[in-house]
Amino acid sequence: MLTLRMKSSLECGWHIALLLLWSATPLWAVGPGGSTGQGTSIFSPASTPAKSIADVSVFVLVITGIIFLVVFALLLYSVVRFRGRATDGGREPAQVYGSMQIELAWTIIPILIVVVLFLATARVIHAVQDAPEPAGALDVIAIGHQYWWEFRYPKLGIVTANELHIPVSEPDHPTPTFLQLLSVDTDHSFWVPELAGKTDLIPNHPNRMWMDPQRTGVFMGQCAQYCGTQHAKMLLRVSVEGADDFGAWVHAQQKPAVEDAGVIAGRQVFERNACMNCHAVGGTPADGRFGPDLTHLMSRATIAAGAAENTHDNLRLWIQNPSAIKPGSLMPAMKLSDADLDAVVSYMETLH
């Protein structure tokens, strides 16, 4: 991929070269330590749809780069060659009104280019959009909320939030993930650049997208369609895991919540306040649907849709005053006493 990029950048003139050079930024931004899982370049695809897109994109970049070079050269030449000089003596140049042959030439050539670009594009549109769902595919329903993601695995009976776990797809044993995209409020857009192009989540308008990641790791993304105040912190991460790891994750998620007698006080705070109106904890009376499911909260690396690390201090701050982390978040500050706050945080921390 990188060599292809470097080669095309040589052909495409400084402007396109600049774009491509910078598209490699994450590669040197992360340094010798290797992948930090922070890359979101559209030119480092890890999945078939993203790869098809990157390939056709490079093709289009090369064609447009060549057009740019030709037309820019013409423009530069005419500006330099035909600049007015003091020796002109105020005489007017030959008055030329046009030429049908030239007009025809620069009409027909662009039409041919458009035909080529269109055919190359149509192929990828069809390949990505009309791909049939194979038998081994994983089905996930992604539901957009202001400002977080709900993920439901209907065949596995799992509900989670913000951090999507999917299996890696081996070429000889493909296990792609097919997402059904829904929204309960405003428009959102699911965008993890290294895995696939973005597709919107629109209320009353179910959409579909798929990805078949070919390497494991955490892939970052975020909501791309403006959805309200905290659109910026509707972050998204996709953990791509090997079959064994994914199986273990599924197994853990399918269990009901851990019951720990040591945090009964916290659980009571949770269930006697409005917390349980919005949040569900599997195996308990709490079955709210407005907020993220907390059954396995501690299995997630972040809270508040990726806005903060899932640490004791952040959890406490988030429950005490969500606006401190994410102003405009729809979670209210519950105004708990310090004792209740500590108790409920302790309860949360048992939900592995």
Binding site: S57, I125, T186, N204
Partner: protein, 557 residues
Amino acid sequence: MSSNVITVPVGQTEARPWVDELHQWLTTVDHKRLGILYIVSALLFLVIGGVEALIIRIQLMHSHNNFVSPEVFNRMFTMHGTTMIFFVAMPVLFGFANYLVPLMIGARDMAFPRLNAFSFWLSFLGGLLLYFSFLGGSGLYGAGNAPDVGWWSYAPLGARAFSPGHSSDYWTLALLVSGFGSIGTAINIIATILCLRCPGMKLNRMPLLAWLNLVMAGMVLLAITPLSAAQIMLLIDRYLGGHFFDTQAGGSAVLWMHFFWIFGHPEVYILIIPCFAFMSEIIPVFSRKPIFGYPVMVAATVCIAFVSMSVWAHHMFTIGMNSYANSFFTLTTMAVGVPTGIKIFNWIGTMWGGRIQFKTAMLFSIAFLFQFLIAGLTGIMMACSPFDWQLSLSYFVVAHFHYVIVGGILFALFGAFYYWYPKMTGRMLSERLGQWHFWLFLIGFHLTFDVMHIPGILGMPRRIYTYEPGRGWDTLNLIVSIGAFIQAVAILVFVANLIVSYFKGAKAGNDPWDAWTLEWSVSSPPPAYNFATVPTVSSRRPLWDLKHPEDPDSRYE
């Protein structure tokens, strides 16, 4: 033609009390004064919209910045977009059309002078309504706020459930009211061009500026009407219990998108076609050659107008249209590049073999050609819908359309200002300040908008008030912000030039550029009713014929 110059009686130039002068401006139906009112009001909004852009850029200078709250940031990008499109770009272009079209076709005014005044005041009132939202946005709730739903106000974000209070109502009403103004002006331009051309000015002898404004006005009629309809439907949803876009009650969010973009894409061409018109007047004069391929330029413009009516859903490649729809809109969008390319080639053909004079107006025109070329090519990239699934809604798109609107439209407009300011005021703009303005703005522009493509490729979505560190976006955003401030300085130089030159600029005379169209045959500024006797023309360049009786254009047409 010299007999056409009206000598202004001494009495008319005496200073009047300022109240009289103000009254004259407020009640004027003169196309030239209304043109200037349009332009001045647009410049006012340009400064306001520019300040909003700077606030956005300060906030995005580095990750996790806290310069403004998310609420304020969201208002800023909503107001910036709405202001720049509806209250800067459209009015300033209408202003030039108003001022120039009658002069260039040898008419004494627009066809409907009072409709003209009405249209201007409607559009200005629309702008005031939009900005009143800062004070009265939440109505009874007390403190005001501006709309924060984005300049497309996608459903259902614009519904009452998600946008309570009145802030987005001001947005709706502002667009509705100014939309009626636009429709009035479009009717006026069409009627003027079709009915008031001077003797001898057949359609195929009209200056290209008149032709292109005719096409633009036709597009306004087709594009603004669905927008107005959609705004009325939105009001019905919000206050009369309608469910057009109310997804909670079975309405359709996608319907709003179609309504908005069937306005929104032709709108881009409504803005750029008058700029093509400026280029088609300025480039020939400073290349000292007639426009290359006049009939092809007209045909290409009409072709752009037609095709651009069928490309709107390329703004919607990510909403889950089926593969046939995506293919169709890919094809039409790529196809619109063909006539657009033809225009660029013809401008280069015009310069080819000429003797180019690098006045400030021409510098801006050459920069326009360069930047519009790039904007067109990034447009082709996004016409490729799979590429767009990645680039759409990212900073790449933001860079692309600013390349069109700033690199294209604004550069062309600056060219038009330097070219026609002498006609409008009787004074030349300072070339020295003009050079400063041009080079500062060019550097600022490229620093901002070249670099802005890259965070989009690196996965940075638009409309986010802050971003995470470690994505490789920080440095790039800092450079983009620095460029924005350089552009702001350039705009200050420009405004200073406008003001200083008004009082101290060199006298322009009738025809400072040795140009060929009718507006340069009358005094600067032109007298009321323009022409003492209506001129008669026998070619596309009547003043060329006059200056070169030995070799007039009329011999070849």
